[in-house]
Symmetry: C2
Subunit: 420 residues, 2 copies
């Protein structure tokens, strides 16, 4: 089945807001095997809306519309669709009572204007909205189906899942969408694509999307089939191919972000970690503590921007900074070992670099970063030269630091210093 999404609202035609409901709706529709063939954004304008709905009705059997169900005169979706289908609008007393009760629960009287939200086109089914005043509407018109949903995502999402999804499921049989998300770090988009293309091209029934995100490449696999087992088998085959092509560069097989993966590893090994950051300015600590329950593995960290604090907080010898410079592999190692000893954690991480835009030199250009990971067995150091702006350089540095912890566990907790 094919569907179109119509987003109604003049605010979606300003530079401030983009229609994000359609991403959620597309994903849910795709899962049912329904393809979205067009998305339209139209303002709160009677004629232009009517035209958008009329055209869509001529093309596809399913329209999901969002927005324009509010109580004010700007909100024209109900009226427009009713007129287009030649149906009268009638006041639904049950909806009136629900809206009145909602206002009463806040200790307020229902304003007269909200009566507009109780108007229902003949033959349409109202969809309850426990999170707002605007009920949705489900209209069956011959072979065509139209769902009118409220614009706010926190009202639209549960209404779609609870009210629209069951109605669609009843009408649909056969293919569903199955999906996987694999994440890769340390390789560029084109290199990833070059390596995995021969694998995913063997499966024309799988839609593969390769997306570049800061510090990582995300690979989405999607498959529409009525045969769940076939989907699982196909994904397993593709993933096996990816493992060979990308090896230890795959860090996530379920779409989880790097900090989540590292948090799981540290928790599973009852290990703790501490960080001494310079150029990342606390970003590594922030990511490690963004996960609920992080206090079990994250003990603490210091952001030592000045040379003096590198010495005071992580015992970096001042003469080392003088000899090698604050941005050097030696200082990264000293930071990692120093913070580890100070805090008494399993791991210590040290990061120093030039995030830019200023501070670069010919020898150490903007993007130069040194990262060290220390444990009781020794220390492993990585040097990198990242490209991008300040934000991107800092993110990539934190990503590589986290990846070094992951790699440590991947190779069975062997002393990272002893690996080639």
């Amino acid at each position: 089945m094919k569907a179109e999404i119509i987003a109604v609202g003049s605010e979606l035609l300003t530079p401030d807001r983009v229609d994000t409901n359609s991403l959620f709706l597309t994903e849910e529709l795709n899962k049912l095997g329904i393809e979205v063939v067009r998305k339209t954004v139209v303002g709160d304008h009677r004629e232009l809306m009517a035209e958008a709905f009329r055209d869509a009705l001529n093309r596809v059997p399913l329209i999901i519309a969002c927005g324009g169900l509010g109580p004010t005169e700007d909100d024209l979706t109900r009226e427009t669709v009713a007129e287009l289908l030649g149906r009268k609008l009638r006041r639904n007393d049950e909806i009136v009572r629900t809206i009145e009760a909602r206002f009463r629960s806040f200790g307020r009287r229902m304003p007269e204007v909200n009566l507009r939200q109780a108007m229902v086109p003949e033959g349409a089914e109202p969809l309850e909205n426990p999170r707002g005043t605007a009920p949705g509407l489900w209209i069956q018109d011959g072979e065509r189906q139209i769902a009118l949903l409220p614009g706010p995502p926190r009202e639209l999402r549960p209404m779609f899942l609870e009210k629209v999804l069951p109605r669609l499921e009843r009408r649909i049989s056969g293919a569903r969408m199955y999906q996987r998300e694999i994440r890769v770090t340390g390789l560029g988009e084109s290199l990833v694509d070059e390596r995995i293309k021969p694998i995913y091209q063997r499966h024309p029934d799988v839609t593969t999307t390769v997306l570049a995100a800061p510090g990582e490449i995300q690979i989405h696999l999607r498959m529409w089939t009525a045969d769940r087992e076939h989907a699982e088998k196909t994904f397993a085959e593709i993933e096996q191919g990816f493992e060979i092509a990308l090896s230890d560069r795959i860090f996530s097989r379920d779409g989880s972000p790097m900090e989540e993966i590292v948090a799981r590893l540290l928790t599973a090994h009852s290990a703790t970690i501490a960080a001494a950051e310079s150029c990342t300015g606390g970003l590594l600590a922030e990511r490690l503590t963004s996960i609920a329950g992080s206090s079990t593995y994250f003990l603490g960290g210091v952001v030592c921007y000045s040379n003096e604090l590198k010495t005071v907080w992580a015992d970096v010898p001042p003469e080392l900074i003088l000899a090698k410079g604050a941005v050097s592999c030696e200082v990264a190692i000293a930071l990692a070992e120093g913070i580890r000893k100070r805090v008494g954690s399993t791991f210590g991480v040290g990061i120093t670099g030039v995030a830019g835009p200023g501070g670069g030199s010919e020898e150490k250009p903007v993007g130069t970063v040194h990262i060290a990971l220390a444990n009781s067995a020794g220390v492993k150091e990585r040097a990198a030269r990242f490209s991008g702006d300040r934000e991107l350089i800092r993110f990539q540095a934190s990503q590589l630091a986290l990846d070094m912890v992951r790699i440590h566990y991947l190779y069975d907790g062997k002393n990272p210093a002893k690996r080639a």
Copy 2:
């Protein structure tokens, strides 16, 4: 003048990607006084694309389309529009030479397939693309104008600004868009709107959008007029009204984020800052150091998640933590004063709280945060109970901490402890 935007590309009909080019294009078109009346997303499908372009051509005199100009068989924008307008496609040798030179500069030969990108509909003007292989196209068809632009934002944006904008400006006279962005913190969206509505409603010629973002409310003012002075005068009048209605809750009058505002204040006063963070886990340090040149005012910070490290790094007396609990105003004050003395900075910030989802109690539920700001004259403490998830609670805590620095300077650097 009215315009429509058509985004071409099947990837924009997946759950992964949303068309963001249209926000940039809308803003730029609005500045010229051109209104966007519809946005359409259509897949790489000849018939569906033809229908989208045909309908739009019947409605408006200006179409800006993006995507579908690549070298592969999926890329159908050129062919579709040429056929729709009844124009033949001809190979443009200059474009061929440009693409060949581009490949040569990378040390590669131009693949045969890229010849498709040199095909130009009769009478169309190619728009040079220094950042990619796909040239854009400008087509004048009677009174109608069509710009075909490449999909990648880093190619589309400069091409629009350098090639399309001048062509539109020649055809346009009169009204332009003028804008302001004001940011507010510490008040909810509905309260802000309630207070400023009487002000902006007096100016029906100004479009006002109130957007809720984490930790702040953004107010966008937009005005279309041929009279620049009138716009400036109107904005000044509105802003004056906002100052009275929102008082010191306005932190940004030019759309800058809070960390930028605080960075400017610290730099202007040659002041320095250090932070001892618990629940924010380094987010405050990360935001303070996200600004280029932050080493002039940010000396360092500690993330002391464990009670022990609060004592070791910021001299919080263990008996104080025992008596009052780690999440208490007393510990926040001790953190702020301790880190300030240790680092020797003008300001010390201490943050402790319950970010959740676990760790809450009846007395100190999730969202409870204590923040202290110390300087040589004393210390000021704020307690808050934020709602939202872990990420939002942490962000709001960092926002309030930054706001306390701003407020300090707003009241002339008087001892914050002595303010009511």
